[in-house]
Protein backbone atom coordinates (compact mmCIF):
# COMPACT_ATOMS: atom_id res chain seq x y z
CA UNK A 1 0.00 0.00 0.00
CA UNK A 2 2.81 2.41 0.75
CA UNK A 3 4.04 2.65 -2.84
CA UNK A 4 0.54 3.36 -4.10
CA UNK A 5 0.05 6.03 -1.45
CA UNK A 6 3.36 7.64 -2.33
CA UNK A 7 2.32 7.84 -5.94
CA UNK A 8 -1.08 9.19 -4.90
CA UNK A 9 0.73 11.84 -2.89
CA UNK A 10 2.89 12.78 -5.86
CA UNK A 11 -0.03 13.24 -8.22
CA UNK A 12 -2.13 15.12 -5.65
CA UNK A 13 0.83 17.34 -4.81
CA UNK A 14 1.29 18.21 -8.47
CA UNK A 15 -2.41 19.08 -8.72
CA UNK A 16 -2.02 21.55 -5.88
CA UNK A 17 1.22 22.94 -7.24
CA UNK A 18 -0.35 23.44 -10.65
CA UNK A 19 -3.00 25.73 -9.24
CA UNK A 20 -0.63 27.51 -6.90
CA UNK A 21 1.83 28.46 -9.65
CA UNK A 22 -0.40 31.04 -11.27
CA UNK A 23 -1.65 32.28 -7.93
CA UNK A 24 1.81 32.83 -6.51
CA UNK A 25 3.10 34.43 -9.71
CA UNK A 26 0.50 37.16 -9.42
CA UNK A 27 1.32 37.77 -5.79
CA UNK A 28 5.03 37.80 -6.43
CA UNK A 29 5.04 40.20 -9.32
CA UNK A 30 1.88 42.23 -8.89
CA UNK A 31 1.74 42.11 -5.12
CA UNK A 32 -1.92 41.20 -5.15
CA UNK A 33 -3.68 38.23 -3.58
CA UNK A 34 -5.94 37.59 -6.54
CA UNK A 35 -8.90 35.71 -5.15
CA UNK A 36 -10.57 35.54 -8.55
CA UNK A 37 -7.98 32.98 -9.62
CA UNK A 38 -10.45 30.28 -8.56
CA UNK A 39 -12.98 31.62 -11.04
CA UNK A 40 -10.32 31.90 -13.75
CA UNK A 41 -9.39 28.28 -13.09
CA UNK A 42 -13.04 27.32 -13.52
CA UNK A 43 -13.38 29.36 -16.70
CA UNK A 44 -10.48 27.48 -18.26
CA UNK A 45 -12.23 24.18 -17.62
CA UNK A 46 -15.52 25.41 -19.06
CA UNK A 47 -13.76 26.98 -22.04
CA UNK A 48 -12.13 23.67 -22.86
CA UNK A 49 -15.42 21.86 -22.39
CA UNK A 50 -17.13 24.21 -24.82
CA UNK A 51 -14.32 23.80 -27.33
CA UNK A 52 -14.62 20.03 -27.16
CA UNK A 53 -18.41 19.88 -27.20
CA UNK A 54 -19.25 22.65 -29.66
CA UNK A 55 -16.17 22.87 -31.85
CA UNK A 56 -15.18 19.20 -31.64
CA UNK A 57 -11.63 20.22 -30.86
CA UNK A 58 -9.04 17.62 -29.88
CA UNK A 59 -7.73 17.77 -26.31
CA UNK A 60 -4.48 19.61 -27.02
CA UNK A 61 -6.36 22.34 -28.90
CA UNK A 62 -8.91 22.62 -26.11
CA UNK A 63 -6.12 23.10 -23.58
CA UNK A 64 -4.52 25.77 -25.74
CA UNK A 65 -7.89 27.46 -26.04
CA UNK A 66 -8.35 27.32 -22.27
CA UNK A 67 -4.93 28.92 -21.79
CA UNK A 68 -5.71 31.72 -24.20
CA UNK A 69 -9.21 32.34 -22.87
CA UNK A 70 -8.24 32.38 -19.22
CA UNK A 71 -5.17 34.42 -20.04
CA UNK A 72 -7.34 37.00 -21.73
CA UNK A 73 -9.66 37.16 -18.74
CA UNK A 74 -6.65 37.63 -16.48
CA UNK A 75 -5.38 40.39 -18.70
CA UNK A 76 -8.71 42.18 -18.60
CA UNK A 77 -8.81 41.86 -14.82
CA UNK A 78 -5.44 43.54 -14.66
CA UNK A 79 -6.24 46.34 -17.08
CA UNK A 80 -9.74 47.14 -15.90
CA UNK A 81 -9.50 46.45 -12.21
CA UNK A 82 -5.99 46.17 -10.86
CA UNK A 83 -4.37 48.95 -12.83
CA UNK A 84 -6.73 51.73 -11.67
CA UNK A 85 -6.27 50.51 -8.11
CA UNK A 86 -2.51 50.54 -8.49
CA UNK A 87 -2.66 54.08 -9.79
CA UNK A 88 -4.27 55.37 -6.68
CA UNK A 89 -1.98 53.33 -4.46
CA UNK A 90 -4.80 51.55 -2.67
CA UNK A 91 -3.93 49.55 0.45
CA UNK A 92 -3.56 45.92 -0.55
CA UNK A 93 -6.75 44.74 1.00
CA UNK A 94 -8.73 46.70 -1.59
CA UNK A 95 -7.67 44.79 -4.72
CA UNK A 96 -8.20 41.58 -2.76
CA UNK A 97 -11.81 42.52 -2.06
CA UNK A 98 -12.32 43.60 -5.63
CA UNK A 99 -11.08 40.25 -6.89
CA UNK A 100 -13.43 38.50 -4.46
CA UNK A 101 -16.34 40.43 -5.93
CA UNK A 102 -15.21 39.63 -9.43
CA UNK A 103 -14.81 35.95 -8.64
CA UNK A 104 -18.31 35.89 -7.19
CA UNK A 105 -19.71 37.55 -10.31
CA UNK A 106 -17.92 35.17 -12.66
CA UNK A 107 -18.99 32.06 -10.73
CA UNK A 108 -22.60 33.16 -10.81
CA UNK A 109 -22.47 34.15 -14.45
CA UNK A 110 -21.25 30.71 -15.41
CA UNK A 111 -23.94 29.15 -13.25
CA UNK A 112 -26.55 31.21 -15.06
CA UNK A 113 -25.18 30.22 -18.44
CA UNK A 114 -24.25 26.59 -17.90
CA UNK A 115 -26.41 25.57 -14.99
CA UNK A 116 -25.39 24.53 -11.50
CA UNK A 117 -25.17 20.83 -12.18
CA UNK A 118 -21.98 18.87 -12.48
CA UNK A 119 -20.68 18.25 -15.96
CA UNK A 120 -17.72 16.29 -17.20
CA UNK A 121 -15.40 16.08 -20.13
CA UNK A 122 -16.48 13.37 -22.59
CA UNK A 123 -14.64 10.20 -21.71
CA UNK A 124 -13.35 9.84 -25.27
CA UNK A 125 -10.88 12.70 -24.98
CA UNK A 126 -8.49 10.79 -22.82
CA UNK A 127 -7.96 7.08 -22.19
CA UNK A 128 -9.50 6.32 -18.83
CA UNK A 129 -7.96 3.04 -17.96
CA UNK A 130 -5.16 2.60 -15.54
CA UNK A 131 -1.89 0.89 -16.12
CA UNK A 132 -0.17 -1.35 -13.66
CA UNK A 133 3.42 -0.28 -13.25
CA UNK A 134 5.49 -2.00 -10.59
CA UNK A 135 2.39 -2.98 -8.68
CA UNK A 136 0.81 0.45 -8.54
CA UNK A 137 -2.14 1.74 -10.52
CA UNK A 138 -1.26 4.68 -12.68
CA UNK A 139 -3.44 6.55 -15.16
CA UNK A 140 -2.29 8.39 -18.24
CA UNK A 141 -3.77 11.58 -16.84
CA UNK A 142 -1.84 11.37 -13.59
CA UNK A 143 1.38 10.93 -15.50
CA UNK A 144 0.38 13.87 -17.65
CA UNK A 145 -0.31 16.09 -14.66
CA UNK A 146 2.99 15.20 -13.03
CA UNK A 147 4.83 15.83 -16.25
CA UNK A 148 3.10 19.12 -16.99
CA UNK A 149 3.67 20.53 -13.53
CA UNK A 150 7.35 19.69 -13.49
CA UNK A 151 7.83 21.05 -16.99
CA UNK A 152 6.00 24.25 -16.12
CA UNK A 153 7.96 24.73 -12.96
CA UNK A 154 11.23 24.17 -14.77
CA UNK A 155 10.30 26.59 -17.53
CA UNK A 156 9.23 29.23 -15.04
CA UNK A 157 12.34 28.81 -12.93
CA UNK A 158 14.62 28.99 -15.94
CA UNK A 159 12.84 32.07 -17.18
CA UNK A 160 13.10 33.78 -13.83
CA UNK A 161 16.71 32.93 -13.17
CA UNK A 162 18.40 32.79 -16.53
CA UNK A 163 16.71 35.33 -18.74
CA UNK A 164 16.60 39.08 -18.83
CA UNK A 165 12.85 38.90 -18.64
CA UNK A 166 13.24 36.93 -15.44
CA UNK A 167 15.62 39.48 -13.99
CA UNK A 168 13.17 42.24 -14.79
CA UNK A 169 10.36 40.30 -13.08
CA UNK A 170 12.45 39.71 -10.01
CA UNK A 171 13.29 43.39 -9.89
CA UNK A 172 9.62 44.26 -9.97
CA UNK A 173 8.94 41.71 -7.25
CA UNK A 174 11.54 43.46 -5.07
CA UNK A 175 10.24 46.94 -5.68
CA UNK A 176 8.11 48.17 -8.59
CA UNK A 177 9.14 51.78 -8.03
CA UNK A 178 12.82 50.96 -8.23
CA UNK A 179 12.23 48.79 -11.28
CA UNK A 180 10.48 51.63 -13.03
CA UNK A 181 13.38 53.91 -12.25
CA UNK A 182 15.68 51.34 -13.79
CA UNK A 183 13.79 51.71 -17.04
CA UNK A 184 11.96 48.39 -16.88
CA UNK A 185 8.60 48.38 -18.66
CA UNK A 186 6.75 47.57 -15.49
CA UNK A 187 3.31 48.06 -16.94
CA UNK A 188 3.96 45.79 -19.88
CA UNK A 189 5.34 43.10 -17.62
CA UNK A 190 2.32 43.36 -15.36
CA UNK A 191 0.20 42.64 -18.41
CA UNK A 192 2.34 39.70 -19.41
CA UNK A 193 2.33 38.23 -15.92
CA UNK A 194 -1.42 38.58 -15.56
CA UNK A 195 -1.93 36.85 -18.87
CA UNK A 196 0.43 33.98 -18.18
CA UNK A 197 -0.65 33.44 -14.58
CA UNK A 198 -4.31 33.34 -15.52
CA UNK A 199 -3.55 31.10 -18.45
CA UNK A 200 -1.76 28.69 -16.15
CA UNK A 201 -4.81 28.75 -13.92
CA UNK A 202 -6.94 27.85 -16.93
CA UNK A 203 -4.74 24.90 -17.83
CA UNK A 204 -4.89 23.74 -14.24
CA UNK A 205 -8.67 23.91 -14.51
CA UNK A 206 -8.75 21.63 -17.53
CA UNK A 207 -6.37 19.10 -16.06
CA UNK A 208 -8.12 18.98 -12.73
CA UNK A 209 -11.48 18.86 -14.44
CA UNK A 210 -10.27 15.78 -16.30
CA UNK A 211 -8.85 14.30 -13.12
CA UNK A 212 -11.96 14.71 -11.02
CA UNK A 213 -14.61 14.26 -13.71
CA UNK A 214 -16.44 17.12 -12.08
CA UNK A 215 -16.98 20.54 -13.62
CA UNK A 216 -19.26 22.90 -11.73
CA UNK A 217 -19.39 26.67 -11.35
CA UNK A 218 -17.96 26.68 -7.83
CA UNK A 219 -15.14 24.24 -8.59
CA UNK A 220 -12.52 26.91 -8.09
CA UNK A 221 -13.36 27.65 -4.47
CA UNK A 222 -11.94 24.57 -2.73
CA UNK A 223 -8.88 24.89 -4.96
CA UNK A 224 -8.51 28.51 -3.86
CA UNK A 225 -8.46 27.50 -0.22
CA UNK A 226 -5.77 24.90 -0.89
CA UNK A 227 -3.93 27.44 -2.99
CA UNK A 228 -3.81 29.87 -0.10
CA UNK A 229 -2.40 27.15 2.13
CA UNK A 230 0.19 26.28 -0.49
CA UNK A 231 1.45 29.80 -0.99
CA UNK A 232 1.68 30.40 2.73
CA UNK A 233 3.65 27.19 3.18
CA UNK A 234 5.79 27.89 0.17
CA UNK A 235 6.47 31.52 0.78
CA UNK A 236 4.20 33.95 -0.93
CA UNK A 237 5.49 34.90 -4.32
CA UNK A 238 8.08 32.15 -4.58
CA UNK A 239 7.68 29.89 -7.61
CA UNK A 240 9.93 27.09 -6.48
CA UNK A 241 8.41 27.41 -3.02
CA UNK A 242 4.91 27.00 -4.45
CA UNK A 243 5.90 23.83 -6.27
CA UNK A 244 7.62 22.33 -3.25
CA UNK A 245 4.85 23.39 -0.93
CA UNK A 246 2.24 21.87 -3.26
CA UNK A 247 4.06 18.58 -3.14
CA UNK A 248 4.53 18.91 0.59
CA UNK A 249 0.83 19.50 1.15
CA UNK A 250 -0.05 16.56 -1.07
CA UNK A 251 2.24 14.28 0.87
CA UNK A 252 1.03 15.60 4.22
CA UNK A 253 -2.59 15.02 3.28
CA UNK A 254 -2.20 11.57 1.76
CA UNK A 255 0.08 10.24 4.44
CA UNK A 256 -2.11 11.55 7.24
CA UNK A 257 -5.10 9.81 5.63
CA UNK A 258 -3.15 6.59 5.25
CA UNK A 259 -1.54 6.46 8.65
CA UNK A 260 -3.39 8.76 11.03
CA UNK A 261 -6.97 8.78 9.91
CA UNK A 262 -8.81 10.54 7.12
CA UNK A 263 -10.75 12.83 9.41
CA UNK A 264 -7.50 14.18 10.79
CA UNK A 265 -6.37 15.17 7.33
CA UNK A 266 -7.38 18.82 7.42
CA UNK A 267 -6.32 19.17 11.04
CA UNK A 268 -2.82 18.05 10.10
CA UNK A 269 -2.69 20.38 7.11
CA UNK A 270 -3.77 23.40 9.13
CA UNK A 271 -1.62 22.48 12.07
CA UNK A 272 1.38 22.56 9.76
CA UNK A 273 0.23 25.84 8.30
CA UNK A 274 0.05 27.44 11.68
CA UNK A 275 3.38 26.10 12.75
CA UNK A 276 4.98 27.49 9.64
CA UNK A 277 3.39 30.88 10.12
CA UNK A 278 4.54 31.10 13.68
CA UNK A 279 8.01 29.71 13.29
CA UNK A 280 8.97 30.61 9.78
CA UNK A 281 6.47 33.00 8.18
CA UNK A 282 8.52 33.27 5.04
CA UNK A 283 7.36 29.77 4.31
CA UNK A 284 9.12 26.44 4.52
CA UNK A 285 10.79 26.90 1.19
CA UNK A 286 10.55 30.63 0.79
CA UNK A 287 13.45 32.66 -0.36
CA UNK A 288 11.56 35.75 -1.41
CA UNK A 289 11.75 38.76 0.83
CA UNK A 290 8.66 40.66 1.75
CA UNK A 291 8.17 43.36 -0.79
CA UNK A 292 9.44 46.81 -0.01
CA UNK A 293 6.67 49.22 -0.78
Amino acid sequence: MLEQQLFNALSLGCVYALFALGFTLIFGVLGVVNLSQGAVFMLGAYAALTAINQLHAPLWAAIAFAFAFSGLVGLLIDRLLLKPLRKRDAPHLIPMIATIGLGLAMNSLVQGLFGAENQRFPSEVLPQDSLQIAGISVTVLELGIILVSFVLMTVLMLTLNRTQLGRALRAIAESPKAARLLGINVDGLFMLTSFVAAGLGGIAGVLIGLYSNALFPLMGQPMLHKGIAVIILGGMGDIRGAMLAGLFLGFAEVLSVAYIGSDMRDAVAFGLLFLVLLVRPKGLFGTVQERKV
Partner: protein, 289 residues
Amino acid sequence: MIEFLDNFWSVYSNLVLSLGTNALLALSIYLTLSCGMLAMANAAFMGIGAYTSSILTMNYGWPFPLAIAAGMAAPALVAFIIGRPTLRLSGVYLAMATLAFGEVVRLCILRAEGLTGGALGLNGIPQLTQWWHVLLAVVLVLFLLARLRRSKIGRAFEAIKEDETAAGLMGIDVNGHKMLAFALGAAIAGLGGVLNAHLTFFIGPQEFGFDRGVEILTMTILGGINSLFGPVIGAAIITLLPELLRSFKDYRAVANGLILVLIVLFLPKGLWNPAWMRKVAGLAKRGAK
Protein backbone atom coordinates in the same frame (compact mmCIF):
# COMPACT_ATOMS: atom_id res chain seq x y z
CA MET B 1 -50.62 53.12 9.48
CA ILE B 2 -50.16 50.89 12.49
CA GLU B 3 -51.21 47.92 10.42
CA PHE B 4 -48.70 48.81 7.73
CA LEU B 5 -45.92 49.04 10.29
CA ASP B 6 -47.06 45.82 11.88
CA ASN B 7 -47.06 44.07 8.54
CA PHE B 8 -43.71 45.58 7.60
CA TRP B 9 -42.22 44.27 10.80
CA SER B 10 -43.63 40.79 10.25
CA VAL B 11 -42.06 40.58 6.85
CA TYR B 12 -38.83 42.40 7.50
CA SER B 13 -38.03 42.00 11.18
CA ASN B 14 -35.44 39.38 10.53
CA LEU B 15 -33.78 41.55 7.93
CA VAL B 16 -33.58 44.56 10.23
CA LEU B 17 -32.21 42.55 13.12
CA SER B 18 -29.67 40.86 10.84
CA LEU B 19 -28.62 44.30 9.78
CA GLY B 20 -27.92 45.06 13.41
CA THR B 21 -25.84 41.94 14.04
CA ASN B 22 -23.94 42.48 10.79
CA ALA B 23 -23.19 46.03 11.87
CA LEU B 24 -21.65 44.64 15.05
CA LEU B 25 -19.46 42.33 13.04
CA ALA B 26 -18.37 45.08 10.68
CA LEU B 27 -17.51 47.29 13.64
CA SER B 28 -15.41 44.50 15.11
CA ILE B 29 -13.25 44.45 11.99
CA TYR B 30 -13.16 48.23 11.93
CA LEU B 31 -11.61 48.11 15.37
CA THR B 32 -8.74 45.89 14.34
CA LEU B 33 -8.27 47.86 11.11
CA SER B 34 -8.01 51.10 13.04
CA CYS B 35 -4.95 49.63 14.70
CA GLY B 36 -3.44 48.76 11.35
CA MET B 37 -4.22 45.03 11.50
CA LEU B 38 -6.00 43.08 8.80
CA ALA B 39 -7.44 40.36 10.98
CA MET B 40 -9.75 38.02 9.11
CA ALA B 41 -10.62 35.75 12.00
CA ASN B 42 -13.71 37.60 13.12
CA ALA B 43 -16.08 35.18 11.46
CA ALA B 44 -14.49 32.44 13.55
CA PHE B 45 -14.83 34.56 16.70
CA MET B 46 -18.46 35.09 15.80
CA GLY B 47 -18.79 31.33 15.59
CA ILE B 48 -17.15 30.77 18.96
CA GLY B 49 -19.51 33.29 20.53
CA ALA B 50 -22.52 31.75 18.81
CA TYR B 51 -21.74 28.18 19.81
CA THR B 52 -20.69 28.97 23.37
CA SER B 53 -23.82 30.92 24.16
CA SER B 54 -26.14 28.51 22.33
CA ILE B 55 -24.79 25.47 24.13
CA LEU B 56 -25.25 27.30 27.43
CA THR B 57 -28.83 28.39 26.78
CA MET B 58 -29.95 25.20 25.05
CA ASN B 59 -28.36 22.52 27.17
CA TYR B 60 -27.80 24.21 30.50
CA GLY B 61 -30.61 26.71 30.60
CA TRP B 62 -28.43 29.70 31.34
CA PRO B 63 -30.21 33.07 31.39
CA PHE B 64 -29.64 35.16 28.31
CA PRO B 65 -27.53 37.96 29.81
CA LEU B 66 -25.07 35.43 31.25
CA ALA B 67 -24.91 33.57 27.96
CA ILE B 68 -24.17 36.85 26.18
CA ALA B 69 -21.34 37.52 28.62
CA ALA B 70 -19.93 34.04 28.03
CA GLY B 71 -20.33 34.48 24.29
CA MET B 72 -18.15 37.56 24.45
CA ALA B 73 -15.61 36.24 26.92
CA ALA B 74 -14.84 33.00 25.09
CA PRO B 75 -13.72 34.55 21.78
CA ALA B 76 -11.77 37.23 23.65
CA LEU B 77 -9.92 34.50 25.51
CA VAL B 78 -9.14 32.60 22.34
CA ALA B 79 -7.99 35.84 20.71
CA PHE B 80 -5.67 36.43 23.59
CA ILE B 81 -4.19 32.95 23.26
CA ILE B 82 -3.59 32.94 19.53
CA GLY B 83 -2.82 36.64 19.43
CA ARG B 84 0.46 36.26 21.24
CA PRO B 85 2.26 34.47 18.43
CA THR B 86 0.32 35.70 15.41
CA LEU B 87 0.22 39.43 16.03
CA ARG B 88 3.94 39.57 15.41
CA LEU B 89 3.20 39.01 11.73
CA SER B 90 2.47 41.92 9.51
CA GLY B 91 0.32 42.86 6.59
CA VAL B 92 -0.85 40.13 4.30
CA TYR B 93 0.77 37.42 6.42
CA LEU B 94 -1.42 38.34 9.36
CA ALA B 95 -4.44 38.36 7.10
CA MET B 96 -3.65 34.92 5.78
CA ALA B 97 -2.84 33.53 9.23
CA THR B 98 -6.11 34.74 10.65
CA LEU B 99 -7.90 33.35 7.62
CA ALA B 100 -6.30 29.97 8.27
CA PHE B 101 -7.27 30.25 11.91
CA GLY B 102 -10.85 30.68 10.83
CA GLU B 103 -10.68 27.39 9.02
CA VAL B 104 -9.19 25.72 12.09
CA VAL B 105 -12.12 26.88 14.20
CA ARG B 106 -14.55 25.50 11.66
CA LEU B 107 -12.74 22.16 11.70
CA CYS B 108 -12.78 22.09 15.51
CA ILE B 109 -16.51 22.70 15.50
CA LEU B 110 -16.93 19.83 13.06
CA ARG B 111 -14.88 17.46 15.15
CA ALA B 112 -16.39 18.29 18.55
CA GLU B 113 -19.55 16.54 17.52
CA GLY B 114 -20.79 15.69 20.97
CA LEU B 115 -20.80 19.30 22.03
CA THR B 116 -21.52 21.19 18.84
CA GLY B 117 -23.53 18.73 16.80
CA GLY B 118 -20.73 18.61 14.26
CA ALA B 119 -21.76 18.99 10.65
CA LEU B 120 -25.40 18.74 11.64
CA GLY B 121 -25.21 21.95 13.62
CA LEU B 122 -27.18 23.05 16.63
CA ASN B 123 -30.90 23.05 16.17
CA GLY B 124 -33.60 24.47 18.34
CA ILE B 125 -31.79 27.42 19.86
CA PRO B 126 -34.30 29.43 21.91
CA GLN B 127 -35.27 32.59 20.12
CA LEU B 128 -34.23 35.01 22.80
CA THR B 129 -33.03 37.98 20.81
CA GLN B 130 -35.38 40.93 21.01
CA TRP B 131 -35.17 43.99 18.83
CA TRP B 132 -34.02 46.08 21.73
CA HIS B 133 -31.11 43.73 22.44
CA VAL B 134 -29.74 44.43 19.01
CA LEU B 135 -30.39 48.14 19.16
CA LEU B 136 -28.79 48.42 22.60
CA ALA B 137 -25.78 46.40 21.49
CA VAL B 138 -25.17 48.53 18.41
CA VAL B 139 -25.59 51.79 20.29
CA LEU B 140 -23.32 50.69 23.14
CA VAL B 141 -20.61 49.46 20.81
CA LEU B 142 -20.75 52.66 18.75
CA PHE B 143 -20.52 54.69 21.95
CA LEU B 144 -17.60 52.64 23.23
CA LEU B 145 -15.69 52.86 19.98
CA ALA B 146 -16.32 56.59 19.68
CA ARG B 147 -14.94 57.17 23.19
CA LEU B 148 -12.01 54.89 22.43
CA ARG B 149 -11.20 56.82 19.31
CA ARG B 150 -10.86 60.09 21.17
CA SER B 151 -8.90 58.62 24.03
CA LYS B 152 -5.21 58.04 24.50
CA ILE B 153 -5.69 54.44 23.46
CA GLY B 154 -7.32 55.54 20.24
CA ARG B 155 -4.46 57.87 19.47
CA ALA B 156 -2.04 55.04 20.13
CA PHE B 157 -3.97 52.89 17.64
CA GLU B 158 -3.70 55.66 15.09
CA ALA B 159 0.03 55.94 15.64
CA ILE B 160 0.55 52.21 15.30
CA LYS B 161 -1.50 52.18 12.12
CA GLU B 162 0.65 54.93 10.62
CA ASP B 163 4.00 53.45 11.45
CA GLU B 164 4.50 50.65 13.92
CA THR B 165 8.23 51.07 14.40
CA ALA B 166 7.99 54.78 15.05
CA ALA B 167 5.16 54.23 17.53
CA GLY B 168 7.27 51.71 19.40
CA LEU B 169 10.17 54.13 19.49
CA MET B 170 7.88 56.78 20.93
CA GLY B 171 7.25 54.53 23.88
CA ILE B 172 3.88 53.04 22.92
CA ASP B 173 3.35 49.45 23.96
CA VAL B 174 2.68 48.23 20.43
CA ASN B 175 2.03 44.60 21.26
CA GLY B 176 -0.24 45.45 24.14
CA HIS B 177 -2.35 47.79 22.07
CA LYS B 178 -2.60 45.38 19.18
CA MET B 179 -3.71 42.66 21.55
CA LEU B 180 -6.33 44.97 23.01
CA ALA B 181 -7.75 45.75 19.58
CA PHE B 182 -7.69 42.09 18.59
CA ALA B 183 -9.34 40.78 21.76
CA LEU B 184 -11.91 43.56 21.93
CA GLY B 185 -12.73 43.00 18.28
CA ALA B 186 -13.18 39.31 19.05
CA ALA B 187 -15.57 40.10 21.90
CA ILE B 188 -17.70 42.34 19.68
CA ALA B 189 -17.77 39.70 16.97
CA GLY B 190 -18.80 37.17 19.61
CA LEU B 191 -21.63 39.46 20.66
CA GLY B 192 -22.83 39.58 17.08
CA GLY B 193 -22.66 35.80 16.98
CA VAL B 194 -24.71 35.36 20.15
CA LEU B 195 -27.48 37.67 18.98
CA ASN B 196 -27.55 36.12 15.52
CA ALA B 197 -27.72 32.55 16.83
CA HIS B 198 -30.64 33.32 19.12
CA LEU B 199 -32.47 34.87 16.21
CA THR B 200 -32.40 32.03 13.71
CA PHE B 201 -32.99 28.84 15.74
CA PHE B 202 -30.11 27.07 14.11
CA ILE B 203 -26.37 27.41 13.54
CA GLY B 204 -23.97 25.26 11.57
CA PRO B 205 -20.20 25.23 11.11
CA GLN B 206 -20.34 26.27 7.48
CA GLU B 207 -21.70 29.68 8.47
CA PHE B 208 -18.54 30.86 10.18
CA GLY B 209 -15.95 30.06 7.57
CA PHE B 210 -14.22 31.84 4.74
CA ASP B 211 -17.39 33.06 3.05
CA ARG B 212 -18.69 34.76 6.16
CA GLY B 213 -15.27 36.29 6.86
CA VAL B 214 -15.17 37.74 3.39
CA GLU B 215 -18.70 39.07 3.72
CA ILE B 216 -17.91 40.92 6.95
CA LEU B 217 -14.73 42.37 5.53
CA THR B 218 -16.57 43.59 2.47
CA MET B 219 -19.13 45.37 4.63
CA THR B 220 -16.43 47.25 6.49
CA ILE B 221 -14.40 48.28 3.49
CA LEU B 222 -17.50 49.16 1.54
CA GLY B 223 -18.71 51.56 4.13
CA GLY B 224 -15.30 53.04 4.63
CA ILE B 225 -13.15 53.11 7.71
CA ASN B 226 -12.83 56.82 8.15
CA SER B 227 -15.67 57.04 10.55
CA LEU B 228 -17.72 54.76 12.72
CA PHE B 229 -20.76 55.06 10.50
CA GLY B 230 -18.95 53.58 7.55
CA PRO B 231 -19.10 49.94 8.71
CA VAL B 232 -22.72 50.36 9.73
CA ILE B 233 -23.65 51.67 6.29
CA GLY B 234 -21.63 48.91 4.67
CA ALA B 235 -23.43 46.32 6.78
CA ALA B 236 -26.77 47.82 5.81
CA ILE B 237 -26.00 47.63 2.12
CA ILE B 238 -24.65 44.10 2.13
CA THR B 239 -27.56 42.87 4.25
CA LEU B 240 -30.18 44.55 2.11
CA LEU B 241 -28.59 43.86 -1.24
CA PRO B 242 -30.07 40.35 -1.70
CA GLU B 243 -33.48 41.74 -0.82
CA LEU B 244 -33.14 44.67 -3.21
CA LEU B 245 -31.80 42.47 -5.95
CA ARG B 246 -34.59 39.92 -5.61
CA SER B 247 -35.86 40.80 -9.05
CA PHE B 248 -32.56 39.81 -10.62
CA LYS B 249 -33.37 36.20 -9.74
CA ASP B 250 -30.69 33.89 -11.05
CA TYR B 251 -28.26 36.69 -11.79
CA ARG B 252 -28.50 38.23 -8.33
CA ALA B 253 -25.06 37.09 -7.25
CA VAL B 254 -23.59 38.47 -10.45
CA ALA B 255 -25.05 41.87 -9.64
CA ASN B 256 -23.80 41.52 -6.05
CA GLY B 257 -20.26 40.81 -7.16
CA LEU B 258 -20.24 43.54 -9.77
CA ILE B 259 -21.52 46.12 -7.32
CA LEU B 260 -18.63 45.30 -5.02
CA VAL B 261 -16.17 45.72 -7.84
CA LEU B 262 -17.70 49.00 -8.95
CA ILE B 263 -17.72 50.49 -5.48
CA VAL B 264 -14.11 49.49 -4.93
CA LEU B 265 -13.13 51.03 -8.23
CA PHE B 266 -15.02 54.26 -8.02
CA LEU B 267 -15.51 54.92 -4.35
CA PRO B 268 -12.23 53.72 -2.91
CA LYS B 269 -12.54 55.26 0.49
CA GLY B 270 -15.84 53.55 0.91
CA LEU B 271 -19.22 55.08 0.73
CA TRP B 272 -19.27 57.00 3.96
CA ASN B 273 -16.48 59.38 3.29
CA PRO B 274 -16.94 62.77 4.91
CA ALA B 275 -14.37 64.40 2.60
CA TRP B 276 -16.13 63.21 -0.54
CA MET B 277 -19.49 64.24 0.78
CA ARG B 278 -18.24 67.70 1.63
CA LYS B 279 -16.94 67.99 -1.90
CA VAL B 280 -20.27 66.99 -3.35
CA ALA B 281 -22.06 69.37 -1.01
CA GLY B 282 -19.62 72.08 -2.06
CA LEU B 283 -20.34 71.48 -5.73
CA ALA B 284 -24.05 71.52 -5.06
CA LYS B 285 -23.72 74.84 -3.27
CA ARG B 286 -21.72 76.33 -6.11
CA GLY B 287 -24.28 75.05 -8.57
CA ALA B 288 -27.06 76.67 -6.61
CA LYS B 289 -25.42 80.08 -6.71
